[in-house]
Amino acid sequence: MPDAAFDPRAVPGADAHAAALHSPALKHHFDDLGQQKEAATLGMWLFLATEVLFFGGLFAAYLLYRVWYPDVFGEASRSLDITLGSVNTLVLIGSSLTMALAVHAAATGQRRTLMIFIALTMLLGAVFLGIKGVEYYDKIVHHHVPGPSFHFEGPTPERAQLFFSLYFAMTGLHAFHMVIGLGLMTVILLMAWRGRFSATWYTPVEMSGLYWHFVDIIWIFLFPLLYLVDRHS
């Protein structure tokens, strides 16, 4: 029985259970789809935990140097474009909303809605990367990219360079995760288009959703640390 044809609402309860037991999505080494999903979910959360620690090294470096050099970090932070940063934050939160709606659509077996929301999520993700690209371009123009041509007005330009090193490392790593996310969404979109998901089995949509929200949350921390840290004065 192909996945697409399987719709539990069309079958009475007991049959639905039996069908779920023999779903083609069930891998041989699991007892049932419930166990399989539990494993996938735990696996994904663990993976996200590794990601937190991966970013954690950079956050630790940021916090240390921010405490050591608050003035120059504030100055360098103020040179970032807060409008673009805020717009991007809204775009990304919006993409998390569409992602959540996509997961809901998958859970209720609405293939078309699922595809629309995945496509919207991808669109918003691309907008984010586009705006980020504009910001990076702006940094290049102003010689704020660490390296031989780095230039920053102020008493300690080399420490401003430290800020921008961290800025590029952290936002770059984040953008890299966004690109991977877009790749994942492409796969999900293709799978949805081929009708691979059903209300009983949509684990990949849910897992990609967890990943997407995670990348979003990283930004929610990056934005205040990098853009807002010295805006009160």
Binding site: G43, T50, A60
Partner: protein, 537 residues
């Protein structure tokens, strides 16, 4: 014994051909892929060790120059730590036995498991390439600013290799945790799990939570070396000590990645070969978790002389002492298990007893190093070298060899000659102590580590150490021969040659592809030898 026969089909002969191995998703076959790879890497790391010991036979730096010597100990460290000890027991015996011991058909993510081997091999090849291109001279610790600015060697290639291999241990750890959580057989509650599983669980937690920090620190080193972005560069206000913090945040827990699995193995061996329930099962189980948790809080003791504040150092010192508590819980409980046990001294048990003794020495000398005043005196001397070799070779490697000899009949279906095995185990024990005990004395007398030349008065002890290393090498080579020999000529082992009551011995040797002919149902504790304790209850 003659009536025993091998099962007609099992995991190793279910399919034939190179493809069936290279594209396998069977955790048992992947375990063997890892076994082959890390054995080769162990040989390479061992060769570097022998060259080091040969150079140190005489006081002047005559055999190799200082630069070559720097590369030798660096490559010895990188290969042995990242390519042998970190993967060793988890990737081989964990892979093979975690699913079997929890009564599952495979790990939760079999394809991820295969990917983990490929990632390991790709990373390993990078590191080997770094060796082939002329080596690395930073020490396995990649300390900045030497690694980022001064070193002219292949730091990038090696760092990329280590970075890649990290993902292999992350994936393996993730796979184990998920498997242990979600795929236990009916009736197999947490406190019926074998202690090896508890140890693998604790190890996997460290793998999953620690390795990413190493990964990001190596990324930062690579960026700094390639682009001079300056996160650790004092010229920009950066702090090289920050690298040490990030590095040891992983690399100290990594010590427990190496030794916790061996502790799990020893728990299995002690129970099986003394025919007793493990004394204080719950304590031993939780001590693994405690070591994993404390392990994350003590990294600063590697940096007592790196400019740390006195208060910081005191706190790290106290926390380091606390690791001794769960470690001692294990040693005392093993000893209590042995008490009045019906002990037999087959090869695996000799390694287990060796582990207990050597780990005790390694652990107790760790307390010397955690003591601030003593650490200032012996820091960067051979005392430290001896200490961590007692943990990593005397502990981790002994456990690995014990596991290899214990589970070999299960993995291959055949038995090795036990007498030669015992001779090899004793050889390893003698060779090991002869190699590393003199180094405690050398370090205490003030011989610094990482120099290719040394003062005349240290020669006698260094000769002893090199002689011991030769004996140790023989002790490592003997098993290679008889284990390979046993593959074809060994006696058929049968399902349960040791008379163990653990789950993995209830399935045929070698096990079928899906481990059990039917899903086992577990009705009792992991170690049920009906000993006096059990009767009392």
């Amino acid at each position: 014994m003659d009536s025993l026969t091998l099962p007609r089909t099992h995991y190793a002969n279910a399919e034939y051909g190179l493809r069936s191995w290279l594209l396998t998703t069977d955790h048992k076959r992947i375990a063997l892929l890892f076994l082959g790879s890390i054995s080769a890497f162990f040989l390479i790391g061992g060769l570097f060790a022998m060259l080091i010991r040969l150079e140190l036979l005489t006081p002047p730096g005559d055999m190799v120059g200082a630069d070559t010597y720097n590369k030798l100990f660096t490559m010895h460290g990188i290969v042995m730590i990242f390519m042998f000890l970190i993967p060793s027991i988890p990737a081989v015996f964990g892979n093979f036995f975690v699913p079997i011991m929890v009564g599952a058909k495979d790990l939760a993510f079999p394809r991820l498991n295969l990917l983990s081997w490929y990632i390991f091999m790709i990373g390993g090849l990078f590191t080997l390439a770094a060796i082939a291109l002329g080596g690395v001279d930073t020490g396995w610790t990649f300390y900045t600013p030497f690694s980022t600015h001064a070193s002219q060697s292949n730091v990038m290639v090696a760092a990329v290799g280590v970075f890649i291999m990290g993902f292999s241990s992350i994936l393996t750890g993730l796979n184990f945790i998920v498997t242990i959580h979600t795929m236990r057989a009916p009736g197999l509650t947490w406190f019926r799990l074998p202690l090896f599983i508890w140890a693998m669980y604790a190890t996997s937690l460290i793998n999953v939570l620690g390795t990413p920090v190493l990964a990001i620190s190596l990324v930062a080193v690579a960026l700094e070396r390639a682009l001079h972005i300056g996160i650790f560069d004092p010229a920009y206000g950066g702090d090289p000590v920050l690298f040490q913090h990030l590095f040891w945040f992983y690399s100290h827990p990594a010590v427990y990645i190496m030794v916790l699995p061996s502790m799990g193995v020893v728990s299995e061996l002690v129970a099986t070969f003394s025919r007793k329930n493990i004394f204080g099962y719950t304590f031993v189980a939780f001590s693994s978790l405690a070591i994993a948790v404390f392990g994350f809080l003590v990294w600063g003791h590697h940096m007592f002389v790196a400019g740390m504040s006195v208060y910081g150092a005191m706190i790290f010192s106290i926390l380091s002492f606390m690791v001794a508590v769960p470690s001692a819980v294990k040693v005392f409980n093993w000893t209590a298990t042995l008490y009045k046990g019906s002990i037999s001294y087959e090869t695996p048990m000799l390694y287990a007893l060796g582990f207990i003794g050597l780990f005790a020495v390694g652990g107790l000398t760790g307390l010397f190093l955690a003591t601030l005043a003593v650490d200032v005196h012996v820091h960067d001397t051979y005392f430290v070298v001896a200490h961590f070799h007692y943990i990593m070779v005397g502990g981790a490697l002994m456990g690995y060899l014990g596991a290899l000899h214990y589970w070999w009949p299960k993995m291959t279906g055949r038995m090795y000659p036990d007498l030669i095995g015992r001779i090899a185990a004793v050889t390893v024990f003698i060779g090991f102590n002869l190699t590393f005990f003199p180094q405690f004395v050398l370090g205490y007398l003030g011989m610094p580590r990482r120099y290719h030349a040394y003062a005349e008065e240290f020669q006698a002890l260094n000769v002893l150490s090199t002689a011991g290393a030769s004996i140790l090498a023989v002790g490592f080579l003997i098993p290679a021969f008889y284990l390979l020999w046993s593959l074809k000529y060994g006696k058929v082992a049968g399902a349960n040659p040791w008379g163990s009551v653990s789950l993995e011995w209830t399935t045929p040797s070698p096990p079928p592809t899906f481990n059990f002919d039917e899903t086992p149902v577990i009705a009792g504790p992991a170690y049920d030898y009906r000993e006096p304790e059990a009767k009392r209850a």
